[in-house]
């Protein structure tokens, strides 16, 4: 039995949830044992949506999960896995997923396959691909144990289509303990209100210091992103300069993205940055330095000044139907 944990926000599953469905179906051979866990203070709507895809949906509804914390999620997921005797627990490798899944593995005494880009059965166990050394190396890692915990990198599988018939939704009671809520959430601030979340974005427009100022960055990078319905990313230098928030930083210290299209504008391509985006399907680079390392990973490159090329791009994009 494979348990997939559904990552959700604002009453809807995140994109990665549908990818976990695909992966879970492949691993169970669609034998009807795939089970999804939806935990939250009001998981109903998300559970109904996921039931269109998965034969069995468990909901955990508890005030302890508002908002969810690493330790409350660990309790819920570990309890579900133990109760159901899950052979594998699949979690989306979002920041939050990466935060609680190691705890789940430790609690279950299970091996952890972390941030994997591919996952298959291998005899009694599983074999996965994952990146290491700032995404310059692909590792093949295997785990064999009664339960294996896996966090799955966004984009590792295609999003699933709905199943022929809707699954059954049942509620699961989880015995939370006082320590599970010892971490207090004082406040939350959304960084990218109204914009596509970077990890979910199909298109990412990222900019570097070459734009000269926060205003120009806003006009050109954010402007182009808006025109494309894209997420905005930036280099560490841009964040260090205070032009954009940390939440938009791409690379080793920031986010890892793998969109369908990544536009790197005045981004030189330091290895730390590349580690955060080199799995993008198509990469476009615009840089005035023809020797910039970004061109080595680019599908399409324009050698030129972003201050001239980006306005031209905005115009060309506006001409699309």
């Amino acid at each position: 039995m494979i348990l997939i944990v559904i990552d959700h926000a604002d009453g809807a599953p995140r994109k990665s949830a549908y990818e976990l469905v695909s992966l879970g179906r492949a691993l169970t051979g669609d034998d009807g044992s795939l089970t999804a866990l939806v935990a939250g203070d009001a998981p109903g709507a998300v559970a109904q949506e996921i039931a269109r895809f998965v034969p069995r949906v468990l909901t955990v509804s508890a005030p302890e999960l508002a908002p969810p914390r690493a330790e409350t999620m660990t309790r819920a997921v570990a309890h579900a896995a133990t109760t159901l005797g899950a052979e594998a627990v699949l979690v989306g490798a979002s920041r939050f997923g990466l935060s609680y899944s190691p705890r789940v593995a430790m609690r279950l005494g299970a091996p952890l396959l972390e941030d994997v880009t591919a996952l298959e059965r291998d005899g009694d166990g599983y074999v996965a691909k994952r990146l290491s050394y700032l995404a310059r190396v692909t590792e093949t890692v295997a785990a064999s144990a009664p339960t294996v915990v896996v966090s799955v990198k966004p984009g590792a599988a295609a999003a699933a289509d709905p199943a022929a018939s809707a699954g059954e939704v049942t509620e699961l009671e989880v015995p939370f303990e006082p320590d599970d809520v010892r971490v207090g959430v004082a406040s939350r601030r959304a960084a990218t209100k109204g914009r596509v979340a970077l990890e979910d974005a199909d298109v990412v427009v990222a900019g570097g210091r070459g734009f000269g100022s926060a205003e120009t960055f806003d006009d050109l990078v954010v402007g182009l992103a808006d025109a494309l319905g894209a997420g905005v990313g930036s280099t560490r230098a841009v964040v260090d300069a205070g032009w954009r928030p940390y939440g938009e930083q791409i690379g080793q210290t920031g986010k890892t993205v793998a969109p369908r299209l990544y536009l790197a504008l005045a981004v030189s391509g330091a290895v730390q940055h590349l580690s955060g985006m080199n799995r993008s399907k198509v990469i476009v680079a615009v840089n005035k330095d023809a020797d910039a390392p970004i061109f080595r990973v680019a599908d399409y490159g324009i050698v030129g000044d972003v201050l001239e090329v980006v306005p031209a791009l905005q115009e060309a994009v506006a001409g699309l139907d």
Binding site: T74, R95, A143
Partner: protein, 256 residues
Amino acid sequence: MKIVTILKQVPDAEARVRASGGTLDLSGATLVIDGMDEYGVEEALRIRERGMETEIVALACGPERAAEAIRTALAMGVDRAVHVVSDVTLDAVAMARVLAGVVQDEAPELVFVGGKQADWDSSALGPALAEALGWPHADWTTELTFEDGTITVTHDIDDGTETLTLPLPAVVTTQQGLNEPRYPTLPNIMKAKRKTLEARPLADVAAAAGAPADRATELRASEIEARSRRNVVLDGDAKTAATELVRRLRDEAKVL
């Protein structure tokens, strides 16, 4: 107050990483203390410098040569260090089990771990260690303050930032933005010579912690990640190149 800061020695970001026959070759790479781990060392030093009497202990699990990274931390100002000498490349869960034993013996109020080290690209060590200890954790921390017995941290989450309060003891994973790590000064490098760096074999530490001295997962192969790219450079003035790019993204790559 006692703080343990966990370290890893990793290849320098500029280092060339090679692989052949499924095995990684780091022989030509310069190895340094992981940049993310340095934030933890720096934060511990700053806590002490703000006037709180603090003992700072560096803890690392790695091969013999990882002692160099530990010495960097000693030269930055850490008081002493424990080096679990291991020729096995442990995964995060296995390392957390081993290190939990040492941390329990040290009994600190706070443990710092780098948010994501540049060798295994894993952010699991901090949370796994916290779980092994039965402590709370906060990850990807960019701000940290103390108020009697608790800490308040601001950290990055998927859609923004979050401010948490944690009772001590706790594990905090660190990242860029928390502080600007100092260089070790020459006088401190010389002073570090006289500090204690205690080396303990993995087998002993693991036995004492009741943990296996081996990985929880099996590493079968490491290969250099290579993706073939089109590498097309579009010529012409800005307008021509931009128009051609948009056309190709739509018609050739089919991503628009």
